[in-house]
């Protein structure tokens, strides 16, 4: 089974989705249970994957390599390394929770909802595992559609606007990436006489610096929108606010990671020469995102919007770590991706919990909830703290490593980024206070039921992971380490290959980084 475990991971949700279609639509309970079962399946497979993963290797494992479209040398290549492993796990971990969380939420067109959700999972997993650029692009785009339906059909009052905006915004970037992918492959084909979209081959393409910059731009636009990097973030608040809870969780928890993952897996190692010009720009944008996202989050009247903007800020951290271009920063960035997936996912689940009770997300409608819902409050607190990077919880590990990495490449960047941890506390605690503390003034909030068993089952695993990953991050970091170092090594090799002039310029930039 281990030879094709990745395919099992990727396609088991799709299988579930198809099987789900066969269940009669009025058997809601059956559909829910089936959906849960089918979402647990990939999780189990991914656990198998983890258990069989050789943490000492930095290359791709469990590689499946089958011919697909020989005309262009396109192959079905999937493989996992320390970078993608946990993102896969994150995806398979969150999806069952989302399914469970939607048991109460989604009343209408239940079957279709889970169908799209499972399809989305296949798309995400495929995008994380694909090693063929064509395949990657296919999965990348395939994700778009189910998410679009999830927002557009089961979303809030402005859902159509949000859904269309989401699709068009995302497509805008990815279509240019398609051009860049084809260009890259065709240049490679010219040089080597052989068409291939195999990432591992393309890593070694010989491109001119200008070409690299253009291609990098093409790729990074797609990823930057997905991340979303300031100033390409404006689709996010709308999408989050309008999406149903489950959609927001997946969107924030996994989908956004694809952007940062894309940078790490594709844009950065494929075009190292572009980084000379690009990385200061991206560091700057990341910093703006960190601070700007935090500031704007603070003044949001809507809980989901607040969390959405907080994502902008958090992913700014991730980007900062990535573009520090060193081992520590990148490891921190990956870790932070997981953290953000957990904590923001949990925040959206939490917002969903109160939304399902009160049908409002306006912060002003709440206040003093703690007394009514203590268990909820405690979990909310933990998640909030994770989000603001309290040491001992997962968020800190990522943030600290990112800062450490960033500090190496630019001290100024680190200094500015640190302000993000202050501002992060400001908006999160302000929000927490306004929702949970103070007198219970709004009578509608009286008698709010505390978490049900199902809701606890949804949230508890996340909280457990938040704590565990804060206390004992080693198992995760250890696995990432070889994969990240091989990425770094690739950059180093490329840097050495570059003209000495550029190398000198790089050195100089490092010196004036103060």
């Amino acid at each position: 089974m281990m030879e094709f475990v990745l395919s099992l991971v990727i396609f088991s949700p799709l299988l579930g989705a198809v099987v789900l279609l066969a269940v009669p639509g009025d058997n809601v309970a059956g559909i829910r249970r089936a959906a849960l079962a089918f979402s647990l399946l990939p999780f189990l497979f991914s656990l198998v994957l983890w258990s069989g993963f050789d943490a000492s290797r930095g290359d791709f494992q469990f590689v499946e390599n089958l011919p697909w479209l020989p005309r262009f040398g396109i192959r079905y290549i999937v493989g996992v390394d320390g970078i993608s492993l946990f993102l896969v796990l994150l995806t398979t971990f969150l999806t069952p929770l989302v399914v469970l969380s939607c048991w109460g939420d989604i009343e209408l067109r239940v079957k279709e909802f889970f169908f799209f959700l499972l399809m989305l999972e296949t798309g995400m997993l495929g995008a994380f595992l694909a090693l063929d650029l064509f395949l990657f692009y296919v999965f990348w785009e395939v994700m778009l559609v189910p998410m679009y339906f999830i927002i557009g059909v089961w979303g809030g009052p402005q859902r159509i606007y949000a859904a269309v905006k989401f699709v068009l915004y995302t497509m805008a970037g990815s279509l240019l990436m398609l051009v860049a992918i084809i260009y890259l492959a065709s240049v490679h084909a010219h040089a080597s006489g052989l068409w291939t979209f195999d990432l591992r081959e393309l890593y070694n393409s010989a491109l001119g610096a200008r070409e690299q910059l253009w291609l990098f731009t093409g790729f990074s636009l797609a990823f930057a929108i997905k991340v979303p990097l300031f100033p390409f973030h404006t689709w996010l608040p709308d999408a989050h606010v309008e999406a149903p809870t489950g959609g927001s969780v997946i969107l924030a928890g996994v989908l956004l990671k694809l952007g940062t993952y894309g940078f790490l897996r594709f844009a950065i190692p494929l075009f190292p020469a572009a980084l000379e010009v690009a990385s200061p720009v991206f560091v700057a944008l990341a910093l703006i995102g960190i601070i700007y996202g935090a500031a704007v989050a603070m003044v949001q009247p809507d809980l989901k919007k607040l969390v959405a903007y907080s994502s902008v800020s958090h992913l700014g951290f991730v980007m900062l770590g990535l573009f520090g271009l060193n081992q520590i920063g990148i490891e921190g960035a990956i870790y932070q991706m997981l953290n953000h997936g957990l904590s923001t996912g949990a925040l959206f689940l939490i917002v969903g919990v109160i939304y399902s009770r009160r049908h409002t997300r306006m912060i002003a409608d709440f206040g003093g909830l703690w007394r009514e819902v203590p268990i909820f409050a405690a979990i909310f607190m933990v998640v909030t703290l994770s989000s603001i990077g309290l040491p001992g919880l997962n968020g800190f590990v990522g943030e600290f490593l990112i800062l450490l990495g960033a500090f190496k490449s630019s001290r100024l960047a680190a200094v500015l980024a640190v302000s993000g941890i202050i501002l992060g506390a400001v908006y999160m605690l302000r929000m927490f206070q306004r929702v949970m503390f103070g007198p219970l003034t709004n009578p509608a909030n009286r008698g709010l039921g505390d978490l049900s068993v199902r809701e606890i089952l949804v949230l508890a695993p996340v909280v457990a992971m938040i704590v565990f990953m804060g206390v004992h991050p080693r198992p995760f970091l250890k696995v990432m380490e070889p994969a990240v170092s091989s990425t770094i090594e690739r950059l180093e090799v490329a840097r050495r290959r570059m003209e000495p002039r550029i190398a000198v310029a790089l050195e100089k930039r490092a010196e004036v980084a103060w």
Binding site: R371, A378, P391, F400, A414, I421, A425, L429, M436
Partner: protein, 644 residues
């Protein structure tokens, strides 16, 4: 200040923090189901922690000077060349801190069982308190600075939670938030300091273990050390409420009074001092930083003392007093007298905890009244409280033979001895003010007539034994705690300093002549007495006088009573502009410009679409016209290109 002497693995070290953690988990997990048992479990685990700490202390002392107990639990983070370990370290400094934290903490836990006896949220309270103890122990026992930072933030969290414990009142919640955020500002500096330190260590061994750091410190670049220590000090000013980040502490009094005693007086707020002492080997390499530390400290001491003079809330007075005393400690560290700082930290823990608990007892007795103008004459109603409070007041004022006298005097003396005459002078002035405002507090609270409101009048009664016993215990400590650090040449001398020698080194200033020493002591006593006398005159002999003075010097009084309007300034200069900016960023930049551009592009396409589709008139000849035009243009273009 050499490296570690004898490193002894001690496998039971983890028990010290583990007990409170266990308590936290138990209390939180079982909550109401525990019933009254919570009052036993929660203090019990801290007591056990104290015993564990005592055992470790015994082991440490018996191992002889220079020994360090350690326990490596596991590697916490490792990425690239960087690693952080969960390693506990029990050296003399940790020992002092651990004993103070568990000891005083235990007493306060016990006291809390009485104080919070009727609060329905008692389990939550004790859970937080246990968690706090755990975090604080982590802080003081951490070998790795990053682990220290975990404790550092952990105590901050508990402080946040406990300040806002009665969260139904908006102010309490806000105060908690303020504490957290202001601390975060300091923490940002702290983190930057850690980052700088880490990278300056070189790529081979990026780890912040104290022992390792100590060995490598002398080889570091001086400029880097200065910057790094300054950044770390920013962290300390946040946690230990120094200028300019002290503003959260007075507000923090919103929490339950035992919390104020434990967290905001005895333990957490001293974390900054502890941290600097812990890194004394580093700070000692940065004279500029030390000077900054000293001057910030002593300025804070005076500054806070002046504010305390004009406060009427019993806890606020104590809060500013705490800030002031912390300032002393920093001043002490700044002049290189690290052990004195820790010494004062310890005695302060005793008497300030006592003061707070006493205040709590008073507040408890008066049904929540905190305004000293509506107290008075309580001496008769609550004798135990009064007497213990008196001891603490005398101690903090530096009256001879009580703990505060020795520690504060040591600081002033060493400031003088190290040539920091200015610091000595300011410290002396602050000491006078301290005596004044403390006795003012004492007189207004316990002497004269009871000025309480009608409904509170019937209440005054002594607190139950569960509260008074800790008072007494602390009273004893406040009285005799100073004898471990006598002046040089007196009795057994500075045993305390000797004990800490291996960690913080010994004081490097001049040895003062006996005469000078006596003179300085005289000055201190004199100033303290002066304060006492003025307070006596103002509040016992001539009760109308303060009002008159306040009226005459209304300008100054308003500034002092208004706490120099620092909060307002921050609000005006930072908070409001930030909010306004954030709003602008959102509404104008985000929604207006960025999203406007996106939507604008879409609108442009559809507007064009609407516009151009009108060309499709439905008349076949217009289509033919387009056709013909296209053909003509195409031909023309080809001809032109053919020519060119």
């Amino acid at each position: 200040m050499e490296g570690d002497g004898q490193i002894i693995p001690f496998e039971l070290l983890f028990l010290i923090p583990a007990f409170p953690l266990l308590g936290f988990v138990l209390v939180l997990g079982l909550r109401e189901r525990l019933g009254r048992a919570v009052s036993v479990i929660a203090p019990g685990v801290v007591g056990l922690a104290f015993l564990a700490a005592a055992a470790a202390f015994y082991r440490l002392v018996s191992a002889g000077p220079g020994a360090v107990l350690t326990q490596h639990l596991y590697t916490w983070i490792s990425a690239g060349d960087f690693s952080a370990n969960i390693t506990l370290r029990f050296d003399p400094l940790s020992a002092v801190m651990a004993l103070v934290v568990t000891g005083v903490g235990f007493l306060i836990h016990v006291y809390s069982a009485g104080y919070m006896g009727h609060d329905e949220c008692k389990p939550r309270y004790f859970a937080y308190l246990n968690l706090f103890t755990f975090a604080m122990l982590l802080l003081v026992l951490a070998d790795d600075l990053l682990l220290l930072f975990v404790g550092w933030e952990g105590v901050g969290l508990c402080s946040y939670l406990l300040i806002g414990f009665w969260f139904e009142k908006e102010e309490n919640a806000s105060a908690g938030k303020k504490a957290f955020i202001v601390n975060r500002v300091g923490d940002a500096g702290f983190v930057l300091g850690l980052l700088l330190l880490l990278w300056s260590l070189g790529a081979e061994r990026m780890s912040l273990g104290v022992g390792a750091l100590k060995e490598i410190a002398p080889s570091l670049d001086a400029g880097t050390v200065t910057v790094a220590t300054l950044l770390l000090f920013i962290g300390a000013t946040g946690k230990s409420a120094q200028l300019p980040l002290y503003v959260w502490l007075p507000d923090a009094m919103a929490g339950p009074t035992p919390v104020s005693a434990l967290i905001h007086a005895a333990t957490m707020v001293t974390a900054g001092i502890y941290m600097i002492a812990r890194l004394s080997f580093l700070f000692a390499l940065a004279p500029i930083t030390l000077a900054v530390v000293a001057w910030i400290g002593i300025s804070t001491a005076l500054f806070a003392a002046t504010i305390a003079v004009a406060q009427n809330d019993i806890k606020k007075v104590l809060a500013y007093s705490t800030i002031s005393q912390l300032g002393y400690m920093f001043a002490s560290l700044g002049v290189g007298a690290f052990s004195s700082g820790i010494f004062h930290l310890m005695t302060h823990a005793f008497f300030k905890a006592l003061l707070f608990l006493g205040a709590g007892s008073v507040i408890h007795a008066l049904g929540g009244e905190q305004d000293i103008r509506r107290m008075g004459g309580l001496r008769e109603y609550m004798p135990v409280t009064f007497w213990t409070f008196l001891i603490a007041t005398l101690a903090i004022s530096g009256m001879p033979l009580l703990s505060g006298f020795f520690s504060k005097d040591q600081i002033l003396e060493r400031a003088f001895a190290s040539g920091h005459i200015g610091i000595w002078a300011v410290g002396l002035a602050a000491a006078g003010l301290t005596a004044f405002y403390m006795f003012r507090l004492l007189f207004l609270t316990f002497f004269g007539e009871l000025r309480a409101a009608e409904q509170a009048r019937h209440h005054p009664h002594e607190s139950p034994p569960v509260m008074t016993v800790p008072l007494v215990a602390l009273g004893i400590l406040a009285a005799v705690g100073g004898y471990v650090g006598l002046p040089e040449g007196v009795g057994w001398g500075d045993k305390f300093g000797e004990f800490l020698h291996g960690v913080v080194g010994s004081f490097a200033g001049h040895h003062l002549a006996a005469g000078t020493q006596i003179l300085l002591t005289g000055c201190s006593i004199g100033v303290a007495l002066l304060g006492l006398v003025v307070a006596y005159f103002c509040y016992i002999v001539q009760p109308g006088l303060p009002a008159l003075v306040a009226y005459r010097l209304s300008g100054i009084y308003k500034v002092l009573a208004g706490k120099y309007f620092v909060d307002e300034a921050y609000d005006f200069l930072i908070v409001r502009p930030y909010f306004r900016l954030a709003n602008v960023a959102w509404r104008i930049f985000d929604v207006g410009i960025v999203d406007g551009a996106v939507n604008g592009a879409a609108t442009m396409v559809s507007v064009n679409s609407e516009l151009w589709r009108r060309l499709q008139t439905g008349r076949v000849q217009s289509y033919a016209f387009s056709f013909l035009g296209g053909a003509v243009v195409l031909l023309a273009a080809l001809y032109l290109a053919g020519r060119g």
